[in-house]
Amino acid sequence: MKRLIPSGVKIVLVALVCIAQPGFSARAADDGKLLYETGRFKDAIEAYRSQIEDNGPNPALLYNLGNAYFKTQDFGRAIHAYEQALALDAASPDIQTNLRLALEKAAVFDSSEPGRFREWSRFLTLNQWGRISLFALGTAGILVLTAVFASRFRKILWLRIGTVTALITLVVSGVAIFLRSEETSRGIILEKDTPVLLSPFPTAEQIATLPAGRSVNLRESHSDYVHIGQGWVSKSSVAPIYQLD
């Protein structure tokens, strides 16, 4: 029994790692790579977009698409693609580096000051935190019910440690999700000098302009416009990072 318990803990840890990983996968054909490397960046963009539409997004595709946009000086869309890639692969230094370069090129300065925990929580994506929280909830539930029904198990140290670990993981992942949940309403301004209107009508008074690549919080929408806090912008000039149901 004593041998089995540490093995069980190892299995749990391995399961946690697997759950947090986006998945193991084989390489696919990169239609855009040749176009990109021969300087045909617009064709590369079309190739990557087509692949995303056909196969769904993945971090590498979005990252490569961001690079192609970057090369065409379309920094708004490059930043959007990098942000989406980062939403799927938070730990990639390549994505982080190129996003920072694109933000610099677009002269967009991130004025947000995330707290330490929020900063730390960005080592994982929101989806990874979601999977971890679910796994922790299930594990905690099983262990707690085991302790409730079989009182003799309560004295086993590994079960106690496992329960506490699962509960701590559940709290940490829950807090991480809560703190970052507002990210799901973030969007990126795609067009340069996007006009911000006072009200959601084409003839409304313009109150400001926003640079391409600026991160905004998307609120309610009205016809072809979406509210971003300080005013309304055209839906065609801003794109959400996450796709909501």
Binding site: D30, D110, L145, L210, L244, D245
Partner: protein
């Protein structure tokens, strides 16, 4: 495109509570119209407000057209007031009103629709005066800033473009600064409150010979009132580092995109441009921008009907010349790296053991205030006995301008010589207050380095991957400028829908919680069922029922001794449960001591004892039924 769903249940509850609250506390819908001021010049603009209380308009109402008046939508605001538990919600729509001719005007009552209701506004009257009847107001903040003795009090302003920027360096005891010294600075940009401004750059140095360090990324935003005029003030904190000696001003600039009225080609009044700084600083006035020419040489009222256009402006701060001196040559330590300020040694970690040729990590923190950018890693002493590599650094600012703080260095050090050593860490800096170089050294630590001396340094470099890695430049201080290359594409597909917002996630969470709740419920029921008193009750009922059944059976068989044995057992069971004793301990003596002598229980028990010892006569079935009835009554 939808807004985020942080917590659907919480959001739904909050929304329901808010709607209920609003519904319960809603007042009757009202609408009122007011204008401010009620008397203004023909060249001026008044604000018309339509205020809705307890209702929202179906669409933005359009006031009736009146000859000579122009009414344009401007903005809206809303507020919720709770007074003595009563809530009222107010929505105010504002319009700008201009008149082409002086005279008495009235905006008559008109209908506005709010939901299913049609509300009627009140009429408002106001007076428009001739432009010459209004004296010029010295409303420009530039003309009233202290130090501007030559200000033009007749300057007509009030335009949203009366913006300016200031660089503030705190006063110090000495009048001079040193090359490399970093002075904390505050940059404040003033924009008229309500002005539509979009910054297009961060503050930057506009002169030669100095640099701005660590400009705070997010400016503080405050409201200030200068001479009765409200300004939105953006404040950045930074460090100003002076790069060359001499006497020169320190000025900063910022670019902004402002919404201004397009100038007309109408009449112009030549107004002397207000000079905030008395004029006379190198590079000309910061208001030499054509934009300010347009502003100060035109009446704002000339353009009141002109369309609003976006205009790029550059604000430049004034700056008094600073006396910047070079660092003295005398007494300059060899290991001086250019750090100017006031520093001290914080925590540090030296190797506890070492082997020649094997890297050991050293960690040291330097804290204080000054130009941390020029602070190099403290040198491990004795200097010739160790080979050190480029450190990884981390700076933790102690204030918003990063003027003070702590810088931690982590580097690999490889001992080159074996034997006993006294190791320590040391660094130098220039103290601008005392004007002298200072050297800081940690206490010496005794260390025994095992192994032979190293003469071939290449062996170290090739033999230690860690040290080679640590020699790489610090990524934090040398950011990459090249685009990282393409990545190989995987076949897997991911979802950009947040998992925690999906129905699958919440179904799993709710299912898990339900299973846990059911589990807890079952556990609680089992625990209740297995409680000691419940078990004792069940046992009592079982034994009592068993005894009485035996008694009934004995009557049926007309067996007197069996009946009384069963009766005795029933009495013992009941008495034991009642008095919390064991059934065997219930004897006639025990019953006699606790019950009155004429109790039927004692009578039955005495008869049962007699039967047990063969002292009693056999009873008929009728008698047994009589005894049985007596037993049941006694035990009831």
């Amino acid at each position: 495109m939808k807004s985020s769903r942080r917590s659907p249940i919480l959001t739904a509850w909050t929304a329901a509570a808010f709607i209920s609250f609003c519904f319960l506390t809603a007042n009757a819908a009202e609408v009122s119209v007011s204008i401010n001021p009620t008397s203004f010049a023909a060249t001026d603009t008044a604000q018309l407000s339509i205020q809705f209380e307890g209702a929202n308009p179906t669409e933005r109402p359009t006031p009736p057209e009146i000859e000579g008046l122009t009414i344009r939508p401007y903005g809206q605001s809303s507020s919720v007031r709770i007074i003595n538990g009563e809530t009222s919600r107010t929505l105010t729509l504002t319009y700008l009103v201009n008149a082409t001719e002086p005279g008495e005007y009235e905006i008559p009552s008109f209908d506005v629709s709010a939901g299913d209701e049609i509300l009627k506004t009140n009429a408002v009257k106001f007076t428009v005066l001739a432009a010459s009847a209004i004296p010029a107001q010295p409303s420009s903040p530039l003309s009233q800033t202290p130090g501007n003795a030559a200000s033009n009090q007749n300057a007509t302003s009030g335009d949203e473009t009366s913006s300016f920027i200031k660089l503030e360096i705190p006063e110090r005891e000495r009048e001079h600064l040193y090359v490399g010294e970093m002075a904390p600075a505050r940059i404040k940009a003033y924009f008229p409150a309500g002005a539509r401004v979009s910054l297009t750059s961060a503050p930057r140095p506009s002169g030669q010979g100095f640099t701005l360090h660590r400009v705070s990324e997010k400016p503080e935003q405050t409201l200030e009132e200068i001479n009765g005029r409200s300004y939105t003030v953006l404040t950045w904190y930074a460090g100003v580092s002076l790069a060359k000696e001499g006497n020169y001003p320190v000025t900063v600039s910022i670019d902004a995109n402002m919404a201004v009225r397009q100038k007309s080609s109408g009449s112009r009044r030549q107004i002397q441009r207000p000079s905030l700084f008395g004029g006379g600083f190198p590079g000309g006035s910061p208001f030499d921008d054509p934009f300010f020419d347009n502003f100060f040489n035109n009446s704002m009222f000339d353009d009141v009907f002109a369309p609003i256009v976006q205009k790029e402006v550059t604000l430049t701060s004034p700056g008094a010349p600073l006396d910047v001196r070079s660092l003295p040559e005398e007494g300059r330590p060899d290991d001086f790296s250019g750090a100017v300020g006031n520093f001290s040694l914080g925590s540090y970690r030296l190797p506890a053991d070492a082997v020649t040729g094997e890297p050991r990590q050293v960690r040291v923190t330097v804290k204080g205030e000054g130009n941390f950018d020029r602070m190099s890693a403290p040198i491990l002493q004795p200097q010739g006995a160790w080979k050190t590599y480029t450190p990884k650094t981390e700076f933790k600012p102690g204030d918003v301008a990063s003027f003070s703080g702590s810088k931690t260095f982590e580097f690999n050090a490889i001992p080159q010589k074996g034997g006993e050593q006294k190791i320590s860490l040391a660094f130098s800096y220039f103290d601008p207050t005392s004007g002298t170089y200072q050297r800081v050294q940690s206490p010496e630590t005794q260390l025994l380095v095992s192994g032979d001396d190293i003469t071939d340094s290449s062996r170290v470099a090739s033999g230690n991957q860690d040290s080679a890695q640590s020699a790489e430049p610090d990524s934090k201080e040398s950011p990459a400028t090249e685009l990282a290359p393409l990545r190989p594409i995987a076949t897997s597909s991911h979802s950009l829908t947040p998992f925690f917002q999906s129905s699958a996630y919440w179904s799993a969470v709710i299912l898990t919680l339900i299973v846990m709740a059911i589990g807890f419920l079952i556990a609680a029921m089992l625990r209740y069922r297995n409680r000691a008193d419940r078990v004792a009750d069940r046992e009592f009922s079982r034994r009592s029922h068993h005894s009485l059944s035996k008694a009934e059976k004995a009557i049926a068989e007309n067996n007197s001794s069996s009946f009384f044995a069963a009766a005795r057992e029933a009495i013992q069971t009941h008495a034991a449960a009642e008095w919390n004793l064991s059934p065997q301990s219930i004897t006639l003596a025990e019953l006699s001591s606790r019950l009155p002598n004429d109790s039927p229980i004692i009578e039955i028990f005495r008869r049962a004892d007699a039967e047990a010892y063969g002292l009693a006569n056999s009873q008929s079935q009728t008698d047994l039924n009589h005894w049985n009835q007596k037993l049941k009554e006694a035990l009831a």
